[in-house]
């Protein structure tokens, strides 16, 4: 069985605010969850081949190396200046085109959405382009039975165990903020193995369907809605600060908003 996991690199500061990470990009937390679930299948059957696929800048290469270290068999970064500015439609085109080139893929795995785009549209875009069935809201992989994948889905207030015919596109619903633990040795081996870099020509992409040119939406502007407050800094010694807080809490329900 051949599985492709689509991973979006997102800016590190969107996920980890305070930790001083020196990497500009990190895994989209939803995709990291999907990747971990996919790798759990490999534990059941080592012959399963898992390919990590990302469209993104070269600064995000290390995420594919990490994916290899976590257990993926191949890592591919789709990088081309012509891909820059792709909206969900152009993105699903690029990913689906690369998947077509990979040939004989049984399962395509995605996260529910990306934390910077938050649309969840790419999954269905890929499925439509590849004319494959698609299911989402998956919680976990249970296993497989004669070429069918057994999955747990959480849909509204129901938990379902499903048996899915392949090929198909699936999306998990959850995310994780825990960085994978990767040993130095595995990381080194992954680096030696190396990842593949494909550009628009490599996947034979139609130049009119990618990047800004292929995008059908444009962001006109953004407006902040979270208002900052008039801040009072509580000065003095620790004892003063404690006293201030205790007094405030004692007022409790008498405070009028």
């Amino acid at each position: 069985m051949r599985i492709v996991v689509c991973i979006k690199p997102v800016r590190t500061e969107m996920v980890y605010k305070t930790e001083d990470r020196n990497e500009k990009y990190t895994f989209n937390p939803y995709d990291l969850y999907a990747l971990e679930q996919s790798l759990s299948l490999k534990k059941l059957d080592d012959s399963i081949e898992i390919i990590a696929l990302s469209m993104g800048p070269m600064d995000a290469q290390h995420l594919l190396v990490k994916s290899l270290a976590m257990g993926c068999d191949d890592g591919i970064i789709l990088n081309d200046s012509a891909f820059i500015g792709s909206d969900t439609l152009a993105t699903s085109y690029v990913l689906a085109t690369a998947i077509k080139k990979l040939n004989k893929v049984d399962l395509i795995v995605c996260g529910a959405k990306s934390i910077d785009g938050e649309t969840g549209q790419v999954v269905f875009g890929i499925a439509e382009r590849l004319k494959l069935n698609c299911i989402q809201h998956l919680k976990k992989v249970i296993g497989f039975e004669d070429d069918k994948l057994i999955l747990e889905q959480e849909n509204g207030d129901r938990r379902l165990d499903l048996s899915l015919n392949l090929p198909a596109v699936i999306a998990f619903k959850d995310f994780t903020l825990k960085q994978p633990d990767i040993s130095l040795l595995l990381h080194k081996r992954a680096k030696q193995k190396g990842i593949k870099i494909w550009n628009a020509d490599d996947i034979e992409a139609d130049g009119n369907k990618i990047g800004n040119k292929g995008s059908k939406t444009k962001v006109i502007g953004v407006r902040n809605i979270v208002t900052k407050r008039e801040r009072t800094i509580v000065n003095g010694s620790i004892a003063d600060k404690a006293k201030y807080l205790t007094e405030l809490l004692s007022l409790g329900s008498n405070i009028k908003n």
Binding site: L89, K178, Y244
Partner: protein, 324 residues
């Protein structure tokens, strides 16, 4: 850009649900801007009164594909695609239900048309284009989005954003049956092996508390957590946490505050060792007084707080325990 026709795409369940009526009302008001028409696309049983009711909210033409219970997204999308191809509206509005969003994403791919998800407003703008507005970046900003090079502008709209309203003196509208032949074979990709209702016996209402103590990664020791818990009892507060505190195991998921947890609006919120990520802040912005305790003077949470206390949590707790 002239908009001649605006389509509203109904959900698989009721085509006259309150949600759909909200969308029709909004489509009507947008259509009035340049005297254009509102087309409503339905799939389901032919129910005359229900269909006629749609016109009272602003539908000019209704097309219905008479097919009960189409729950397969691919068949539904196929029907909608044919309807749109035949009537070619300039814009189509879908409900942002799971089903609506799936259909919209497929239609966007089929028509190579721009799609904006989860809109909270739609307006005609100065340049006479249609602007779609949606919350972005963890609900911290509103983005204005327009379509380009798209024959149809697509959007999904959140529930409860627009208010449905009945129009006076509406003439009966056209109701057309839309024939559809299944052109593709659907081999039913999934079988359900088991289905259980997720028991919700642990519904926790953190909003009944007037004081919320929220712990973050800055609370590292169990002993510190216990001290905060003791303090909370003294003031009748509830102890909740950030996503990190939940993943670290200090706090139960039911008590997580923020974008992927709950929103709170207590009289007093006290954050213990919380950095102030936007995913957390969106859950506390409606609080009365926001107090933040953080040892870093530059912690982002201080920008959203009314009272900033720069201190180590354990040091503060030592002093508070002396006072009370």
């Amino acid at each position: 850009m002239n908009i001649d026709k605006i389509a509203v795409i109904c959900d698989s369940e009721d085509y006259d649900s309150q949600y759909i009526l909200q969308l029709i009302t909004k489509a009507r008001s947008l259509a009035d801007y340049d005297n254009s028409k509102v087309l409503v696309c339905c799939v389901g049983p032919y129910h005359k009164e229900k269909l006629q009711n749609l016109s009272r909210f602003g539908a000019d033409t209704i097309i219905i594909c008479e097919r009960p219970n189409v729950t397969d997204v691919w068949m539904y999308s196929d029907i909608i695609s044919e309807m749109l191809r035949e009537h070619m509206p300039d814009m189509a509005i879908f409900p942002a239900s799971d089903f609506g969003k799936e259909i919209a994403a497929i239609i966007s791919t089929v028509f190579e048309a721009g799609l904006t998800a989860d809109c909270i407003d739609i307006k005609r703008n100065k340049n006479n284009e249609v602007s779609f507005y949606r919350a972005a970046l963890n609900d911290s900003v509103i983005a204005e989005i327009q379509c380009k090079d798209s024959a149809i502008r697509l959007c999904t709209v959140k529930k409860g954003i627009f208010v449905e309203s009945i129009l006076e003196d509406r003439e009966r509208c056209n109701i057309e049956r839309f024939p559809y032949e299944i052109t593709y074979n659907n081999k039913n990709p999934v079988q359900i092996l088991e289905s259980k209702k997720i028991s919700n016996n642990k519904i926790v209402d953190i909003n009944k508390y007037e004081i919320v103590f929220c712990v973050g990664r800055g609370v590292k020791k169990v002993s510190t957590y216990k001290r905060i818990e003791d303090l909370s009892k003294r003031f009748g507060a509830v102890v909740a946490g950030t996503r990190v505190a939940v993943e670290e195991g200090f706090i139960n998921k039911e008590y997580q505050i923020g974008q992927s947890g709950k929103s709170v609006s207590p009289k007093i919120y006290v954050g213990f060792g919380i950095s102030g990520a936007s995913q957390h802040i969106v859950g506390i912005i409606n609080s009365g007084i926001i107090v933040a305790i953080n040892k870093e003077e530059n912690a982002p949470i201080f920008q959203y707080a009314d009272c900033s206390i720069v201190a180590d949590i354990d040091d503060i707790l030592d002093e508070i325990e002396k006072i009370i």
